[in-house]
Symmetry: C2
Subunit: 336 residues, 2 copies
């Protein structure tokens, strides 16, 4: 008799096992043109173009340095809309409350959610509440709807040879903050969770011909860039030296043997832009809210550089070249 195959925590990592689960079960069952694009947001035709995205938030602890699940769910959802160039407009919220959840804590989280929605310029237009057995936990699903300006095409597969690759700030902050809370490590590291509308608006209003935007969440920068390399069929080359990591997060990672390249953020994005606009894009990002730590971290390889399609290479600090892949294994569960 074959052994029963079961879901493990690894299926929720955002890395390889998640990809397999989606590829084997959800994608075949739901196959359609829009879903097949596998973007952060779905861009759908209709009367005008709207972008729609959904995300469930299961983070523990519910409140952490730099944020809480309420702020987190708005940022995560709004950022997913922004990554398609959409203007975020509406959110829905599905609350799944565990029996025993403190009302005051819920109130605080809901307030934070509402404040973040106001900051991000979105309206919450529908909600749902369920209660389940448990130990006072809380899960929130947020679905976002945005409007996509005419003629805009920002997509995971659009990177072109020679393009510049930028990030909007330091890597790993959210992940390190959550892990620090869980391990009760004394630290000043705060989650970076933030809505990235000002950065994206700045780039688009500034005339930057943005190819690709992607927020760096579960799976970290390594996973995101590898996915962009595969989606575009290009090779991405980054410089280890150029990837911004705060001294605190670097120390934290050193202590625990973690790699900031595979640690999630909740307020950082990757942007791929034409090489000749890289300096201008960097300037815009640095001047925008939540973009002060922006940096150019690499490029999309040109023809004749001897690289392979879909590869992610990193030139290390000691001059070697490391070939990177998506996050393997489970990473840190319930980070978002």
């Amino acid at each position: 008799m074959p052994e029963t195959v079961r879901i493990t925590m690894e299926h929720g990592s955002g890395g390889q096992a998640t990809g397999e689960l989606i590829g084997e079960i959800f994608a075949p069952a739901f196959r359609n043109e829009v879903l097949g694009q596998m973007e952060d947001s779905a861009v759908v035709s209709g009367s005008g173009r709207i972008a729609v995205t959904t995300d469930s938030f299961v983070v523990t602890p519910l409140v952490f340095r730099g944020g809480d699940i309420g702020r987190l769910c708005v940022c995560g959802t709004v950022n997913d809309l922004l990554m398609r160039g959409a203007v975020p407009r509406y959110l829905t919220c599905g609350f799944i409350l565990e029996e025993g959840l403190e009302i005051e804590l819920l109130r605080r989280i809901v307030r934070s959610l509402a404040e973040t929605a106001a900051e991000a310029g979105v309206q919450i237009i529908a909600g749902d509440t369920k209660v389940i057995e448990g130990n006072g936990g809380l899960i929130i699903n947020t679905t976002g709807v945005g409007s996509v300006p005419d003629g805009l095409d920002i997509s995971a597969g659009n990177a072109g040879e020679g393009d510049a690759v930028l990030v909007s700030g330091t890597m790993g902050d959210h992940h390190a903050a959550i892990l620090g809370e869980r391990l009760q490590i004394e630290s000043d590291i705060e989650s970076d969770c933030a809505p990235l509308g000002e950065i994206v608006k700045g780039l688009l209003d500034g005339g930057i011909r943005v190819r690709t935007l992607r927020d760096v969440t579960r799976g970290g920068l390594g996973t995101v860039l590898k996915e962009l390399a595969e989606a575009s069929g290009k090779c991405f080359i980054i410089e280890e030296d150029a990837v911004p990591v705060s001294a605190r997060v670097r120390d934290f990672c050193g202590l625990l043997g973690l790699d900031p390249l595979y640690m999630g953020n909740e307020g950082k994005l990757v942007a791929v832009v034409p090489r000749e606009q890289a300096a201008e894009a960097l300037e815009i990002m640095k001047n925008a809210r939540y973009g002060s730590g922006a940096a150019v971290i690499g490029k999309v390889a040109g023809a004749g550089e001897g690289t392979e399609a879909g590869e992610l290479l990193m030139r290390t600090q000691i001059g070697g070249v490391r070939r990177l892949t998506v996050l393997q294994g489970e990473g840190l569960p319930r980070i978002c």
Copy 2:
């Protein structure tokens, strides 16, 4: 020191305690015009009008006679869109998987979800997967987007004096099916979970000037009609004799001391239509898929009938009048 107030299962009943939770915490924090309407779907302006609704499904068991959580989540969400007269177009799915969930069971549920989406004519355009600790359970959030035809205004508050009140079929089937599974009572009762698009399309295409539509879910017919009475400021009067309940469900309720008026369905709706169109509307419903058991069950009281605004009255089989209110207490948790 004041006692800490905590969430109880009652907050998820769909009845009074849920209403209080929404009224006290979510509504004030999210206050906006659209949310303030408290409809099954939010109708938002934009380029054209789109309807958006969200729902999380936490039913146990995951598979039950007549359906499963996959079919249920599509029906629940699509029906919420239909209740505003919207044409359902897109769904998002957020899967929250408990560690230990059998892959085969997930596959079966996802397939059922996809089949039901096809039946209902909606595309699943975005998804999300999380894994949490647990015992092999599954929660699904579905958010739906539909387009609202120009000039259509179907809303909870639109009932007018003298209007007829119809239901599309027998009450309590889903609730009884779930409860039967839980109590392991041998029974042939099947959940009625079904997408109601054909009924709604039939009414609208047939020229019925539909005032109000509402699917009869958590809280049951009593809760739904009381809410409609309050939203419209009218008095609803129903005839106990006229409310359709199958013989099996009636026996089941008799055995357990349950009231079918407060038992949830997942494939039934209430329609309020002009009195002079009641017979025509009934005929349309009876001829539509999932509407064969439709019935006229009452009316909206006219001026001078000595009734009070917001009341729900039922003329009983023995000739008395019972004043009904929304579901009190917790009902059956995790029914949907």
